[in-house]
Symmetry: C2
Subunit: 145 residues, 2 copies
Amino acid sequence: MTQKATFDLEDFLPYLLTQAAEASSLEFQQHYKGRYGMLRTEWRVLFHLGRFGAMTAKEICARSGIHKTKVSRAVAALERKRYLSREVLETDRRLESLGLTPMGERVFADLLGAAQRFDSAMTAHFTDQEEAVLRRCLTRIARLP
Amino acid sequence: MTQKATFDLEDFLPYLLTQAAEASSLEFQQHYKGRYGMLRTEWRVLFHLGRFGAMTAKEICARSGIHKTKVSRAVAALERKRYLSREVLETDRRLESLGLTPMGERVFADLLGAAQRFDSAMTAHFTDQEEAVLRRCLTRIARLP
DNA sequence: CCTTGTTAGTTACAAAACCAACTAATATCC
DNA sequence: GGATATTAGTTGGTTTTGTAACTAACAAGG
């Protein structure tokens, strides 16, 4: 990219990314927070369990990159809401299999649909080519370190 | 974009945006946090003052979109660090002109350089065309609501 | 002027994130 | 087999954020 004479915060990619992320996340919050009183980490944990089936907290951490303390609190919150149930594994009693309850499954189905529609509405602003580039670049940035 | 059969969290744009934003922000944090003990809002306020010169807190809010309570706390923190000084305006004594001290200017110059290098290093992973699309899409998303 | 309304900025309190220490169960190694 | 180390998950204490109420200065209408 040709170098600019001035450098504003809007030219700084981490800033641009943060602004875009906040704008889109805030809007989608309405669905999981407004309708189900869930926090973002709870929604993400619910998603993983709904999408991939029962697993341990450790596996959720590995898949999502969320820290174990956040997962632990999200699991406790989802359990209080009766969206999730635990079962200690007899093969290794440190481990708990975490699974969605029928109610949790219904919430997941609802939020999954909302997420798909939200995503479609967002990408409708772009051409197929733009969207492909956007997703590719974001994926690469997310894996940078 | 052609519809996918399955929908994973990685396909959800707000999630992808958040992951990319966190990855890039975390890395750049080292500069302002590691070297100067600053929080992100402090860095952003410092940037605006360095880039555009002295202004009131209200103007920082308008330019940056940061809420006034966060600006208020960031200003107080920057003042404690002696990077910023205030001057009550006699024309309207509710207003304070906020400006960087010489030390604040030095910190700004250092961080500005770091930001430019960081940005260049990031965009080096993309073609000019990809970068243009990326920035355009992000800007549009950031202004969605 | 002098009540009423607005604006700039701060502060107080509650919600949430962060980090580090902790418990309980299992694995390892002599 | 028993001390030591690891691993899964939780909890406590501190920082940071968010929200809403607050103060001080100015503005406007009567």
